[in-house]
Amino acid sequence: MNLKRIFILACFDLRHSLFRLKGLVFLIPFLFFWYLNLKFLYERGGQALSSPESIVILSWLYNPEIAQILLILYPPVLSVFLIMVLASTPVFAMLSGNDQLASDSGRQTFRFLLTRCTRSEIFAGRFLSHYLLISLSTLLMAVLATAVSLQNDAHSTTAIINYAGQVSLLVLIYILPFVAYMSVISALMSSALSALLMSASVYIILIILGNYLEHKSGVTIELLPGGLKEYLFDINPHDLYIGVGGLLAFTCIYFCIGWLVFRKRNI
């Protein structure tokens, strides 16, 4: 595998995604979503987020201990930002990653690339470009959220900056398995729209299946990386390692399945 060619492919795809439908389908809702939420955090952040009402609402979503850690111990604006990223990443990954491979495979455009680079380089290049698209966009929002936090939260600047770094790192890791999940779906399908619909359908089926298996066996069974997000909130390092390890494991599994599908596919 030639790393230079992967980098060339990823940069080309990333640069042109910004001005093409496949990039705009993701960027327009993403920017709109974060404009509304960052505006809300700017206007209502700080003390309002640390109020007992907010802690009760978050306790209902997760548990009281996590709610108190996120809204009192840590800067609440960044904590709410993290919660929103973790909740919205599956949707935005589907919007950004549906055309990783699908339409170019279906239209056979990859044939122009295949005489110049290997399938593995195309696969890795497209994975990288879509990961960069969603992660760089989210990091940009993290910078804005940090600025809002510095403005509104009562914590020290050092504490906010440190927590912002931790949140950014978690976000970067959390996005990985979703981009890999989309590479599996996109390698299977022949158009961006079909990949988008298929990814949403499979995701919902896996959620239902996971809940059913959990109900039947009484044991927590995570079929999707989204199930690991509670581990990421915890201040207990052991749980954090489990969460990060689980996300990386999901990434490896999805990436390998995606590659196996794409390797055998007639393109």
């Binding site: 060339i8 093409r20 439908l21 455009t109 295949l114």
Partner: protein, 308 residues
């Protein structure tokens, strides 16, 4: 001479359909080869396998000594695929630069190489546009341009002139004529005149099977056959006179086209035989529309395919 392509028992199936069936042939380096066959014969499938787009169901295929999808072949094969679109929403120039960069050119040399290709294929006025805004013929010229980036050792052209207007088709033929002296070339086409003028060898396939692989000169028996198209049907006295000429072995008439004669002869000096036949036709007052050395290429190909 070493083989640039070797196929051994090459078979490709799509479900129950055998697109290629035990193909066995090799092509020497620096050859220009025409790939001919009716629609659905397996030509495009063979091209796709030569480039590694499709994998064989059975048998083997090597290109320049490597498997078609080998990393060592990257950038060494240029292909003009049949009716495959370039990426939408990205200018042709940007895509050509990408292809050059992937072939190992740096930013500066990639621009220089693309400038050379633009001059060669004469697409200076097209490259700044998006592919979806170009006509079929214009897109084909851009596709031809990308196949020539970096002077690849082997160039595969799938129907290079189909859908082109006569002027552009002629330009493309001129480019191909130039290429044949510098590259190994395989051309798939239904235009048999094009194949005859450009290629040294021909591979005829039908229903996925090899019908014939030979030199074009051998196929049309250029050294002992003449094909004559007359202004009027040949009368019996004229045929008898022709048969009576020295060195003439056989006169073949075509029931479906009484204006056409095929003359088979055996002589060390074929030019002399031609002059004698021309003289006889002049004496008989029969006008000539066409006079070709060798049997009619199209007829030979059709004959081989229909006998198959």
């Amino acid at each position: 001479m070493t083989a640039i392509i070797e196929c051994r028992n090459l078979t490709r199936t799509f479900g129950s359909i055998r697109a290629l069936d035990n193909l066995d042939f090799s092509i020497p380096a620096q050859a220009s080869v025409g790939l001919v066959g009716p629609n659905g014969a397996g030509k495009t499938t063979l091209f796709a396998m030569l480039c590694g787009f499709l994998h064989p169901s059975k048998g083997s295929i090597t290109v320049m000594g490597h498997k078609p999808d080998s990393a060592r072949l990257k950038g060494r094969i240029g292909i003009l695929p049949q009716d495959i679109p370039l990426m939408r929403g990205i200018s042709a120039h940007a895509q050509l630069i990408l292809f050059a960069r992937l072939q190992g050119f740096n930013k500066t040399t990639a621009r220089q190489e693309i400038e050379r290709i633009i001059q060669l294929v004469n697409i200076g006025n097209l490259v700044k546009q998006f592919p979806e805004t170009l006509s079929h013929g214009q897109r084909k010229r851009i596709s031809l341009a990308q196949a020539l980036i970096g002077n690849p050792g082997l160039i595969l052209l799938d129907e290079p002139t189909s859908g082109l207007d006569p002027v552009v088709a002629n330009d493309v033929r001129s480019i191909i004529q130039k290429l044949r002296h510098e590259h190994s070339l395989i051309i798939s086409s239904h235009n048999l005149d094009e194949i005859k003028n450009v290629c040294d060898e021909i591979i005829i396939i039908d229903k996925g099977k090899l019908v014939r692989h030979s030199r074009i000169d051998d196929l049309i028996e250029r050294n002992n056959t003449l094909t004559i198209l007359l202004e009027q049907p040949a009368e019996e006295p004229l045929l008898q006179s022709l048969k009576a000429l020295p060195s003439i072995i056989k006169i073949v008439t075509d029931d479906t086209n009484p204006y056409r004669l095929t003359v088979i002869f055996q002589d060390d000096k074929p030019d002399q035989v031609q002059f004698k036949i021309l003289g006889l036709l002049q004496q008989s007052g029969v006008g000539i529309v066409e006079f070709n050395r060798g049997s009619a290429f199209t007829d030979r190909v059709v004959e081989l395919v229909s006998k198959h």
